[in-house]
């Protein structure tokens, strides 16, 4: 009995002792992590705010594209239409000339995306790894192409292609894509150069020691590790070509692409409407925007993982 009592007695202070430090730990934890949680909450609030700023115009466009005019005037309707209608979409699709426009634009963007990515990867690797005469001059040309106001370069190119009779074909796009001088291609060359510069040289040296030539090393060793960066470049060039108006309007003025249909949609969106022309036209334009960017959003949803990853571990540094 007494032994048990002693045990209990001795156990009590032990329990108290054990409890006291626990409370202390909680206080310390609160002090240590409380600040972190507050910062976390503020960070979340801030990020949600910025996301809202970015997404709000998009969401309001998507919502309003389903609105009918009477919904627009109904003060009880907010964001979710009472009488959702696809009329805006039907009109926009017809005015944009789908599906011909879609197929043409897709071909154009795919060509530009693949060719520009390929040439930018090659050229970027050349700039990053090899020393040769005229390299800095050549790189200055890359910067010139990036900085020059687009029309300064477009007009002479237009005259050149029109003299050879290549307008309204895909050939100008192919030629400029292959030679790395297409739409914003300088930026991709620059990105790829920075990426390859950030790669460790030891990989290639090991391959050389094992007897691989530079071309083989490039294809077998460097390309696989550059995939996510190439996907990023492809995404950029595809998207920018898709949304670009300048190049397509200049070189393919008579081919129905989004670039050439967009003016038509803008000017005729209100046609055939009896009342509220301006408002109805805007609803149709919003439907048009949704149609145009929907494929891009799908593409982005699939590639954004590569995109975010490649940024995270890219060698854009340096």
């Amino acid at each position: 009995m007494s032994a048990e009592a002693v045990k209990v007695q001795s156990a009590q202070p032990q329990g108290a002792k054990a409890e006291k430090p626990k409370a202390k730990i909680d206080a310390v934890k609160l002090k240590k992590y409380g600040g972190r949680y507050t910062i976390g909450i503020f960070r979340w609030l801030f990020i949600i705010g910025i996301c809202f700023v970015i997404l709000y115009p998009l969401i309001s466009k998507i919502c309003s594209s389903f609105f009918s005019i009477q919904d627009m005037y109904d003060p009880t309707v907010h964001y979710i239409p009472k009488n959702p209608t696809f009329d805006n979409y039907e009109t926009a699709l017809a005015r944009l000339g789908y599906p011909t426009t879609l197929i043409n634009t897709f071909t154009l963007s795919l060509l530009a995306g693949i060719l520009q990515t390929a040439s930018a990867t090659l050229v970027g690797y050349g700039f990053a790894r090899y020393k040769f005469k005229g390299r800095s001059f050549l790189f200055a040309l890359v910067i010139i192409a990036l900085v020059a106001p687009p029309y300064a370069l477009l007009l002479p190119r237009f005259v050149m292609f029109s003299n050879i009779g290549l307008l309204n074909t895909y050939i100008p796009t192919i030629l400029m894509g292959v030679t790395g001088t297409g739409l914003k291609c300088s930026l991709y060359i620059f990105i790829m150069r920075q990426f390859f510069r950030g790669m460790p040289k030891e990989l290639e040296e090991a391959a050389y020691v094992d007897g691989a030539g530079p071309v083989r090393t490039f294809i077998v060793i460097m390309l696989p590790s550059a995939v996510s960066m190439m996907v990023t470049c492809f995404l950029f060039s595809f998207v920018w070509q898709w949304l670009d108006t300048m190049y397509a309007q200049t070189f393919m003025a008579d081919v129905r692409t989004i670039a050439t249909s967009i003016g038509y949609l803008r000017d005729t969106a209100g046609q055939g409407l009896v009342a509220d022309t301006q408002l109805g036209a805007d609803l149709i334009k919003n439907a048009g925007i949704v149609i145009i960017i929907l494929p891009l959003l799908v593409l982005y949803a699939f590639t954004q993982r590569f995109f975010v990853e490649s940024i995270a571990r890219s060698g854009l540094v340096g």
Partner: protein, 307 residues
């Protein structure tokens, strides 16, 4: 003697090899650079000295010498004013965008739940705010009317109230009026700034990710505070990225389709005054180069390179 010769020969062949493969890999761009960059730039220079017009599909270019340039810079002051506008806009935009992008990148670089999602939303403006979409979205009354009943009004009002309250607060702090207006303008343009910052945010995240964690560990062990770590490690280590971001933002601000000079160039192009257009474009290009050169020269002195 013999070995020296061998070494020299080897080095020479190594250099030759370097050169050969350098030319091989950049061959596409060498061709492209000559055909699609050097030649067009020279032609643009020639066009700018003529009164180029396209009549019935055939170009006619009577030589006018420096006439276009003197008209752009001496006779009319419209172009000069637009240039000044473009420069002012650039001077306002660049610091805001770079600071905002750096701030966003440091937030997005920290680990938290939903980071991937937040990042992918941040990059969305690259897709939805360029080219065609921007062209179609101008004067969209439907979107602003959609919630016109009360919400939009309320939102606008409250945002006005917030910014005016914020303004009062800043004024009460006895800040310079110009500075207050600058900050308030930035607050009102938060959407534009977010859109403009998208690429810079990418650049900065890449820079922050590139800093080796061991440097941070070492400095924390030595007892550095977060503040010190930011100014002594993060900031110098991303300074090359700051240079890159500044240059990109300058180019972006100068060549945005809403830029007043770009609008003038576009108008000259669509109205068929091609010689004038070439003169505008060519002189604008030289000015951009000058600005880039000055800014890059000033910043690169302060930039810290790890190796």
């Amino acid at each position: 003697m013999a070995t020296e010769k061998v070494i020299r020969k080897k080095r020479r062949t190594l250099e030759a090899k370097q050169r050969r493969y350098g030319y091989l890999f950049t061959a596409p761009f060498i061709v492209g650079g000559i055909v699609f960059i050097i030649y067009p730039v020279i032609m643009a220079l020639i066009y700018s000295l003529t009164d180029l017009k396209i009549i019935n599909g055939a170009p006619a270019m009577p030589w006018v010498g420096m006439e276009n340039y003197s008209q752009a810079f001496l006779k009319e002051d419209a172009f000069r004013r637009k240039l000044l506008d473009a420069l002012t806009e650039m001077v306002i935009n660049v610091p805001i965008v770079v600071i905002f992008a750096f701030f966003m990148a440091s937030i997005l670089n920290a680990k938290f739940i939903g980071r991937g999602f937040a990042r992918s939303i941040m990059f969305l403006p690259v897709i939805i705010a360029t080219g065609v979409v921007a062209q179609l979205s101008t004067n969209d009354i439907a979107a602003s009317m959609m919630s016109s009943a009360d919400q939009q009004m309320m939102m606008e009002q409250s945002s006005v109230q917030v910014s005016s309250a914020f303004g009062n607060m800043l004024m009460n702090m006895n800040l310079d009026l110009g500075l207050v207006n600058f900050i308030l303008a930035a607050v009102d343009r938060i959407y534009d700034i977010t859109v403009m910052s998208a690429v810079s945010i990418i650049i900065f995240i890449a820079g922050l990710q590139g800093i080796s964690p061991s440097i941070y560990e070492a400095s924390y062990i030595e007892g550095a505070t977060k503040w010190e770590v930011f100014w002594k490690i993060s900031f110098p280590m991303v300074s090359p990225m700051i240079l890159l971001s500044v240059i990109y933002t300058i180019i972006d601000s100068f060549t945005a389709s809403t830029n007043s000079v770009m609008v003038a160039i576009n108008t000259a192009f669509t109205s068929g005054e091609l010689g004038m257009m070439a003169a505008y474009a060519f002189s604008y290009m030289l000015i951009i180069f000058a600005v880039l050169g000055i800014v890059a020269g000033l910043i690169s002195r302060k930039v810290f390179y790890y190796d």
